[in-house]
Point group: C2
């Protein structure tokens, strides 16, 4: 089975949305990425750090979906990272109530031997220097290195961020971040500039307005977001998108444009599932049939004959 190495936060989240409120549930970027990718026939392997308070049960939940957590550093005396936030009525804005980095504050990732030489490496949204460290420790260069980031790193560590982007193949950011990073308002111009940093693909995520895939030779693909009956909790939708994208690519073992387009659809499919329940809940027990039906919905939504 092809391997997908994932570095990213593993945390407790407490989330409030108009649909309800959770206690401390599994959170952080890495579980969403790993669980979403697990539906594509790959072995997801998480590199992260938690405290002694992270319940065995949460590891079991991940392991039951085939996620390898042996590369998660458990610091017995430390506390797991904690994030808490509340969404507005329309779920398009959220306010962070608490961010406690705890053991994540001095995370120094180690890559176990069993994780080395993955087919795809996914760098979740963390400090660019940590993302770089993982690239250096991962062994043979993966077929594809995918990197998520955010405006925070553009503001605080622009040089590290720039250097890291130049080491990867795919960058996933949202439209505002693409504009900030490039200084261009037109997404076409922004994409051209960012791709000029040496990327194979740029993915611009627009939340419930879909996602754009740009190639360095000027091609473009658009995947809509599925309009949903009910959005329960958008937390982790972007990470689920990344997980679907990386899982699909890793499983196919190809990085050509046709595969990348289908992978963007796979990402959109997993992002849509993520939003329908709180936290990672909906990513835990989807049937093959359910996933296939949703892919079909995307096909029907996009297909036309002029």
């Amino acid at each position: 089975m092809n391997k997908l190495a994932i570095v990213g936060s593993l945390a407790f989240d407490a989330i409030e949305t108009p649909a309800g409120k959770t206690d401390k549930i599994i959170g952080g970027a890495s579980p969403y990425i790993a669980l979403a990718s697990s539906y594509f026939g790959v072995k997801p392997q998480i590199i992260s750090v938690v405290g002694g308070d992270f319940p065995e049960e949460y590891f079991n939940i991940l392991n039951d979906r085939g996620v390898d957590t042996s590369g998660v550093d458990v610091r017995k005396d430390g506390k797991t990272m904690f994030w808490s936030g509340v969404y507005n009525k329309d779920l398009n804005q959220r306010t962070t109530l608490v961010t406690e980095l705890n053991v994540f504050a001095d995370f120094n990732p180690d890559v176990p031997t069993s994780y080395k030489n993955p087919d795809v490496l996914m760098l979740g949204n963390i400090t660019p220097s940590i993302q770089q460290a993982v690239i250096q420790k991962i062994g043979n260069r993966p077929k594809l290195i995918v990197m998520d980031t955010m405006n925070y790193w553009m503001n605080t560590t622009p040089d590290d961020l720039d250097a890291t982007i130049r080491m990867v193949d795919v960058l996933t950011i949202n439209d505002e971040e693409a504009r900030q990073l490039s200084g261009e308002y037109s997404l076409v111009k922004a994409a051209r500039k960012i791709l000029g940093m040496g990327l194979l693909y740029l993915i611009i995520k627009k939340g419930d307005n879909g996602a754009l895939l740009f190639t360095r030779d000027g091609q473009m693909f658009f995947a809509p977001a599925l309009p949903l009956e009910t959005v329960c909790d958008p937390t982790g939708a972007g990470d689920s998108f990344a997980g679907g994208f990386c899982g699909y690519i890793a499983a196919k073992g190809s990085t050509d444009f046709e595969t990348a387009k289908a992978a963007v659809i796979a990402g959109s499919v997993m992002g849509s599932f993520c939003c329908e329940k709180f936290g990672t809940e909906n990513l835990l027990s989807l049937s093959e049939q359910t996933v296939a039906t949703r892919v079909k919905q995307f096909e029907e939504m996009c297909r036309f004959k002029y």
Copy 2:
């Protein structure tokens, strides 16, 4: 040639965007709708009213594209409607500086005999009671009646608006308006409720985030907006979309879902052209080849094989 009757404003616009500033150019909904539809092999016929100050030259510009303006009431002693607005840096907000209704204030549409029994009737965004009057005067019921409206009529004449929607086949509104009209935040739920008013199709326009087509039996189609190198002036993009949609349907003479999907693409194509220059300028002299190339761009942007 199949006929498309259009009722809507015909006015002077003075527009300022970051790309520049215009004098009083041809404006209002009807010229955008008519010009956009003219690329699909139909006869657009405008029902509107202007003052004696409306230049013969502007009629010639429309007539040269095959647009019939014989149904435009010219009130020699009146003044043409005038709108002036300025867009913000990102072109996603505009401030109206001047709206002078002038002869449009007591517009009482008359339908000339040569306009009767069109294949498609497009009701541009005006007072619902005027839209109703045109439906009553148009002759045999057209194959398709398409109606544009806006939140202003939801707030000021909700009963008239409700009655008018129940007389038409297709409603085009934006996402905020769909939410206001239905009282539902989810666009899926909003669409179901609005379609329940007796529509065949609902089109929810999301500006540069594309457009959704919903059918009353629960099918859904999404057309992206084309990311553009340069957006010069978004004025009239929604009307150009409507013109492309109606023009395509009228030309094909069919209202089935496959035709409607392609018509939404035709609308998106014309909306994209509209934004590239000021006012109607870019809709005046497109070649067949240019339109065909852009349709191809949409096909490439949407096509994937999972």
